[in-house]
């Protein structure tokens, strides 16, 4: 047998995410076409591409918010598919940040962050609060801990969402267009937190249109189009011309102004 990414991820603990021949359909529409991809420990991978190219679908397959229909996905050494118990374990090692924040509106900021540690690893209230405040401190929003999500700005909410994901001490962070729903003046406060996280060595997979962020932070850029991974190369290669035609067109469109 050849050395496929899937078998590699089982043997190599440095590979946190592996896609091996993954395809997905929404009814008759094929959203992902034979995706092969590896994300190593400590890597920062930025995923970009035109809308409808399958980037969100792909990143959501990692923690199975979308299920794939063909191929194998391994995350942190476990195959993700079907088995709920296994899946819960994977999800606890994978933090996710959404485009629309998705904070729990009926809970205070502190409760939003402590919920998962309290429920999943049965931490006491006190311990969980301590951890939560630590991460809220890191995203510089600890002073708002007692407020409710609706009282915060979009940028603040997204930072809380990052703290919520970090509170489970994940090994990988997934970001699904984290700045797309933000007013322009709030984008940077979120990107700053993400950059900091990257500097600390967090493994990250980021779907974004922020090419500035990709330039600064990414190790690797994955370019997708029509459900395929068209480019999967180092940041330098991608931005200095070693890219294909489709990526060229995409970049020229979003970098115009």
């Amino acid at each position: 047998m050849t050395h496929t990414p899937a078998t590699a991820s089982k043997t190599d603990p440095n590979i946190l995410i592996s896609f091996d021949g993954v395809s997905k359909w929404f009814d008759n529409f094929q959203a992902l076409r034979d995706i092969n991809l590896l994300v190593k420990q400590g890597e920062r991978v930025v995923v970009c591409g035109p809308s409808g190219s399958g980037k969100s679908t792909m990143i959501r397959c990692v923690n199975q918010l979308e299920t794939h229909q063909r191929g194998v996905i391994h995350v942190c050494g476990r195959e993700v598919y079907g088995n709920m118990k296994e899946l819960e374990k994977v999800r606890r090692e994978v933090g996710m940040v959404f485009q629309s924040f998705n904070l729990f509106p009926h809970m205070s900021i502190l409760e939003n962050v402590t919920l998962a540690p309290v429920r999943n690893i049965k931490l006491s209230r006190g311990e969980a609060n301590e951890i939560a405040l630590h991460y809220l401190e890191r995203v510089q929003i600890a002073d708002q801990a007692d407020k409710f999500p609706s009282q915060l700005s979009g940028g603040q909410q997204q930072r809380v969402a990052i703290a919520r994901a970090l509170a489970m001490k994940p090994r990988v962070m997934l970001f699904d267009e984290p700045t797309s729903a933000l007013d322009p003046e709030m984008i940077n406060e979120v990107l700053d937190v993400m950059t900091e996280l990257a500097d600390e060595g967090m493994t990250m997979m980021v779907v974004t249109h922020e090419m500035g962020f990709a330039r600064e932070v990414a190790d690797r850029v994955v370019f997708m189009d029509e459900g395929r991974v068209e480019e999967n190369c180092s940041k330098d290669e991608f931005f200095t011309g070693g890219r294909g035609e489709r990526a060229q067109i995409f970049l020229s469109k979003i970098l115009q102004h």
């Binding site: 996710m96 509106p105 429920r119 919520r164």
Partner: protein, 298 residues
């Protein structure tokens, strides 16, 4: 700083007074027909005595049949609401389940109840099911002389111990019936929670049960509280229907009072007023609570 312009207070116009006048005329005509044409001998006090009467021996006012009836109605509504809410929560969740069998079961229940007249439903349930069900769960075997059964707590909660099995059957009938409507309210509540909430809850690794308990139900229940309160009031009114299976609630006792006194009009007008006061008080109370909770959440 400029003052905001003073809005003119809305007053009643001539057209409104004409409308009131018309309604007044219609009522006056109805009263005239009843008093003049019907030639009916009104006697309110005889019926009032069945609400509350003055006991000469103890020199105290004592509640009579109709007040006891409304107490039973309230007990019925209370227990039926609890059971119906439980049914509604489970069935409502099943309505939104991914599992086809669960969806089919809950859908059948809802459609069955909603497309049969309540009277028919209650007859079917009472005569065919409760005859089998009551002995099965041992309701008939309760010790009618036990300490708890004869305590005032039991009486407050369930009424006369001798009518207990009858009461349980009535409450279950109502609960099964109203449960279908609550199911639909719960379903709507669950479906009103955005997909993002489910996803965020799953993404942090919560178990399916915790997703429901911590994220979905608390939010859904906030949204469905007003229609749920409305359903409770509907249940109080619908409880009149179990008089048909001889549950001794307000309507059942009213028919007895009407036939013993032969004062049909007075009885039903008084009973109508009692239902109205009860339901309208609850409606006002719930409206008040809702406003307050809205204010609490800004």
């Amino acid at each position: 700083m400029t003052e905001p312009p003073v809005q003119p207070r809305r007053r009643l116009t001539i057209v409104d007074y004409i409308c009131f006048g018309l309604v007044g005329v219609i009522i006056a005509y109805a009263v005239y027909r009843v008093s003049d044409v019907l030639v009916y001998n009104w006697n309110w006090s005889r019926v009032f005595n069945f609400v509350i009467y003055y006991d000469e021996e103890t020199a105290r006012y004592v509640p009579n049949l109709l007040l006891e009836g409304i107490a039973t109605t309230l007990r019925l509504a209370f227990w039926a609401t609890i059971v119906a809410a439980t049914i509604g929560l489970v069935m409502g969740y099943m309505r939104t389940s991914k599992n086809l069998a669960m969806r089919m079961i809950s859908r059948c229940y809802v459609e069955l109840v909603r497309n049969i007249p309540p009277v028919v439903f209650i007859f079917i349930f009472y005569f065919f099911l409760s005859g089998q069900l009551m002995p099965l769960i041992g309701i008939d075997d309760i010790d009618k002389h036990g300490d708890f059964v004869n305590s005032s707590v039991f009486y407050t909660l369930f009424g006369d111990p001798r009518l207990f099995s009858n009461f349980v059957a009535g409450a279950l009938c109502l609960a099964l019936f109203e449960g279908a409507y609550i199911t639909e309210i719960v379903r709507a509540g669950i479906q009103s929670i955005t997909k993002g909430q489910w996803e965020a809850a799953r993404a942090v690794g919560l178990s399916p049960l915790n997703v429901l308990r911590d994220i979905i139900f608390p939010q859904a229940i906030r949204k469905i509280l007003p229609p749920l309160a409305g359903q409770f009031i509907t249940l109080i009114k619908d409880s009149a229907i179990v008089s048909l299976i001889s549950i001794q609630e307000l309507t059942f006792l009213a028919t007895e009072v009407a036939s013993t006194t032969t004062k049909v009009f007075e009885t039903w007008i008084i009973v109508g007023a009692m239902y109205f006061v009860l339901c309208y008080s609850f409606a006002t109370l719930f409206g008040h609570l809702e406003k307050r909770s809205m204010r609490a959440r800004r």
